[in-house]
Structure formats: C-alpha cells, structure tokens
Subunit: 300 residues, 2 copies
C-alpha cells in the first residue's frame, strides 16, 4: 500500500485555553498529520527531536505502525511551543517558541519515493521544503502546507515550491495573503495558476473548499458543541485526507473529495481533547461512523 | 397548492457598492421573498406602498402570479432606503431610511390561513409580527425572520412571537446576540428551546445551518466569483426555502433540507445583479440546473 511521508515538526506543546491547560504534550505538525494519516495508510515521519524527548511520546508516534526511521534523535532540546487561546478560541497567541534541534535540522528522505507514495511537507520554512523536493524524485505526489509567517518571509521559496506541488493546503486568510485576492473562489483559482493541480482552502468552523481541474468541492465543518483544543486541527485534516488517498491508492478528484470528508471528520475528533489524546483512541470504525453522520448532516 | 403569505416591506432602494450604483430599484423583504417563493408556489404579499409607487414596480411584483390583494396603496410616500457597501461587501452602512406609509401600516391577513399555507413574517417590528400572528389562526405554518435592531429593541415581543413560530431565520451574529452563546451549535439549540421547532442560521458566504427536532443540516454556500449586490440575499433564501416547502406540500425536515438547498441556489442568483433583476429572469429550470451544480459541489 502507498505510504504518506510526512516532513514537519515533532514538538512538546504547552497549551492554555478556555478548557484548561496541558503541559508539554506531544504536538507538532508531523505528529498530528501522521497520527491522522495512520488511520488509513502507513505513515513515515521525517523530523528531529532532542535527547530529552520522552520515550512515552516516541511510543505514541509509533502506535499506528508509523515508520520512524526518519525521526532523528539529536543532542540538544526538542522543539517546544506554548500558546494561549482567547475565549471562544477566537485568536491564539504564541507565548513561547524554542526550535531546539529542529532549528538546524535538514530533513533527509529515505530515497526517491516510489510512484503512488505521497509526500507531505508540513508548515516548515519553504527553503527547507525545497531541499526535500529535490530529494523526492518525480514520481511522488507532493502535498504541502504553509502558514502566514512563511508567506510573508519566504515568498520566493514558497512560489518556487508551488510549481512542483500537486496539492496545496492553506487557510482562508493565508489564501488572501498569498494572492491579494479577497474573494476565495478567485483566490483558489489564482493559487492553482501558481502550480498546484489542486488547492484546499481550510476555513475552520466554516468548512473547506477544494479547487481541482475538474471543479470545486465545498464542505461544511461538523458543528461542534464543545472544543477543548483546536491545536493540530489543520494538520490532522491534511494527514487524514492524504492518508485516505494513499489508502485508496488514488490521487484523483473523487479520492480527494472523500479524503476531504474524512479530514473534516478526523479534525472534529482532534479538537475534542488536548494534543493527540483523542486521535490516539480513534479507530477506523469511529471515523466511518462519524463520516456517516457527516453524510447525514449534508444530505438534501 | 399551498401558498406562502409574506408580510414584510416593499421599498425603493438606492444601493451603492463596489459594482456600482442603482437608484430607487424595487426592494424590501417582502419583494425579495415573494419573487423567490414564486418560483415554486403561489405567493401573497401583505405590505403597503405609497401613491408614488411606480406602476412598473407593481407589475414586477405580480410577474409570478403573486396575490397582491394584501398590498395596500396608501396616500403618502413609499418606504425608501439607501445603503452603501464597503469594498468586498465586508460591511453595509444605511445612508438613508424613510419608512413612509409603511411606518404606520398594520398588516391584515385575508383571514385565518388554511392548513398547509405558510406565513412568513419578514424582518419587521416584532410587535407588528405579533399582531399578524393573532390573525393567522392555528393551522398556518409560521416562519419568521429578524434583524439585530429588533433583537436589541423589541426583545420581549420577539420572545413572545418565537413561542408561536415553527421556523425561525436569523444570521450567525443575530443568533449570538439573541442567545449570548458564541458557539453556533449551542446557539441554534438554545433558540429551539425558545419555541421554534426549526431554526435556520444563515452564515452568508459560509452557508447555513438548519436545526430541527431530527438533527442538524449544514450546507456551504456556492462559491461566487463576482457579487454585484448582496441586498435581499437572506430574504430570497427564506422565500425560496418556504416556496419550495409549499410547492412540495410538506413542512417536514426533508422538505426543509431541499428547501434550504434551493434557498442557497436562489440567493446565489439574487446577488448577481442589483435588486431583483436576476431573480426576475430566473426560471425553475435555471434553479434546478444550478441545484444540480450544487449537488456536485457538495458530493463526496
């Protein structure tokens, strides 16, 4: 079965918000994406942690059989991040950030990836994403993510990478920032003209849009009564979508649509607990049951 | 076939925005709702205009066979409104408002409505809505709309009316204002506890949510590349939804879901031109063709 190779961060997060506080819990874009992708296909993590990284956290990363051969343990400290959510999760403030060994880490793939495998470049410095693209070979299906910080500071590298990206993820505000286009339908098409065949615009509680060569797909999010921690919702959405595509052995538009629905469902689980706690306990049966609820939600 | 009786305003609107300016065009909540409802069922308008109301505008109101016997022509001026949209339609400012003869108008229904007929109370003073409710009888299915202004100034009458309302429409910010609940899933359920069996929360470009006794339905909006005039989108959404329900002869949850999809589609047409110009030119075939596109948009 095709694999999803995930390049991103593995971190220890301290999260404060309306639902409480969690100290030094396992986090990072690669963590969320691989925990989610692993529900549907085998994941491989390309990242670095310090020699302080807890054995328990390492065990969690391997729980769904992820290939951890690309997860380097380096002398020094693991990436730590702390953030505080405002009431109703309206905004998030970063109160601490120490890249640790991740700051100088240069990801190395196991080799050119076989056709069918998916490479996911999480939101890391786009110059580093470019270095990974050079190793990936021409057969891998490349998906990538970004954040506003990189759009502002690494625009040239981002644009260079986009030309070699098949599926690009970003949120609504990032799509507006990247294109200067307020209208999301026009912004999505503008990003497709920059290279990617397909673009996913994530709108948080308002759902998501998928732009492909064969049309647009729009999905609401699941209405959630109680959110505990929205950290990692976007990464687990992308991981689940790509895992679903790898599991189906297809990167076509219908596989993307189903993947986006599964991503929506998995993200709705992610936010129910701090860190990856809810994700860890999920089974594929849980996901398919909520997917059936999602189908009922959007039925008319 | 069941009818949709619409109590609301018929006005002459002057609209300025990014796409230009339109002077004294036919508008008002009853106008948009009846033009939309008339695509699917016979509408009846209960409203008042002044003796300055143009014959051409009257003809437009009757184009889909609407019953205009409840549209009173009174000595004085027709309701005039002017508004200016900010770039990208982010906000709207009212620059002129003169209720004219509508200010002292007290709507009178033709009599108690037969079972199956739908009464739609557009966003007018909730004290006046209450006066109409007293006339409607117990058999009519009552739907009502509001705006933030009435939630602030006529809360008691609004709450009294809600207990007798079957389907209530409001937008996301109004739902938060009415309930003090930021989370929309909780706000929708809180409004249902105030009386209405069903609640539609309109989220503009982000789609809509329907809360019923048999569960929630969520729909995205159609991604629109070019908006000319968003005035009346919400009223035509409600009118189309109720017209669809009357046309189907059902106020059950499945008829509401299909109605909401048709409302979404009709609203997407409404905003393509100033006033009701696009609505006027629509045929049921146009609506069903775009409904098929909408089904493809949300398919997974």
């Amino acid at each position: 079965m095709a694999r999803v190779w995930i390049v991103g961060s593995v971190a220890l997060d301290t999260i404060e918000g309306p639902a409480g506080r969690a100290e030094k819990v396992l986090g990072g874009s690669a963590t969320y994406a691989s925990c989610a992708a692993g529900l549907f296909a085998r994941a491989g993590i390309i990242a670095a942690v310090g020699d302080d990284f807890p054995a328990g956290a390492l065990a969690v990363l391997g729980e769904r059989g992820a290939d951890l051969s690309g997860l380097k343990r380096l002398p020094g400290k693991t990436f730590t991040w702390a953030g505080r959510y405002a009431p109703e999760f309206r905004t998030r403030e970063t109160t601490h950030l120490d890249l640790g060994v991740f700051g100088s880490f240069r990801p190395v793939l196991p080799g050119p990836l076989p056709a069918g495998d998916i490479l996911f470049l999480g939101n890391i410095d786009h110059d580093i994403q470019l270095g990974v693209l050079d190793q990936a070979g021409k057969d891998a299906f490349v998906a990538a993510d970004t954040i506003d910080h990189w759009i502002r500071s690494k625009r040239d590298a981002l644009v260079t990478g986009l030309a070699r990206t098949k599926l690009f993820f970003l949120n609504d505000e990032e799509a507006r920032l990247l294109t200067g286009e307020e209208n999301l339908a026009r912004a999505g098409e503008a990003i497709r003209r920059m290279g990617p065949d397909s673009v996913v615009v994530k709108k948080g509680e308002h759902g998501s849009l998928l732009f492909t060569g064969s049309g647009i797909c729009a999905m609401p999010a699941l209405p959630l009564r109680g959110v505990v921690d929205p950290t990692g919702a976007g990464d687990s959405f992308a991981g689940a979508m790509l895992g679903s595509m790898a599991g189906q052995g297809s990167t076509g538009p219908d596989a993307m649509r189903l993947g986006m629905a599964r991503g929506t469902v998995v993200a709705s689980f992610t936010v129910e607990a701090f860190g990856v706690e809810r994700l860890r306990k999920l089974s594929p049966v849980d996901v398919e049951a909520r997917l059936a609820r999602f189908r009922e939600l959007v039925r008319f």
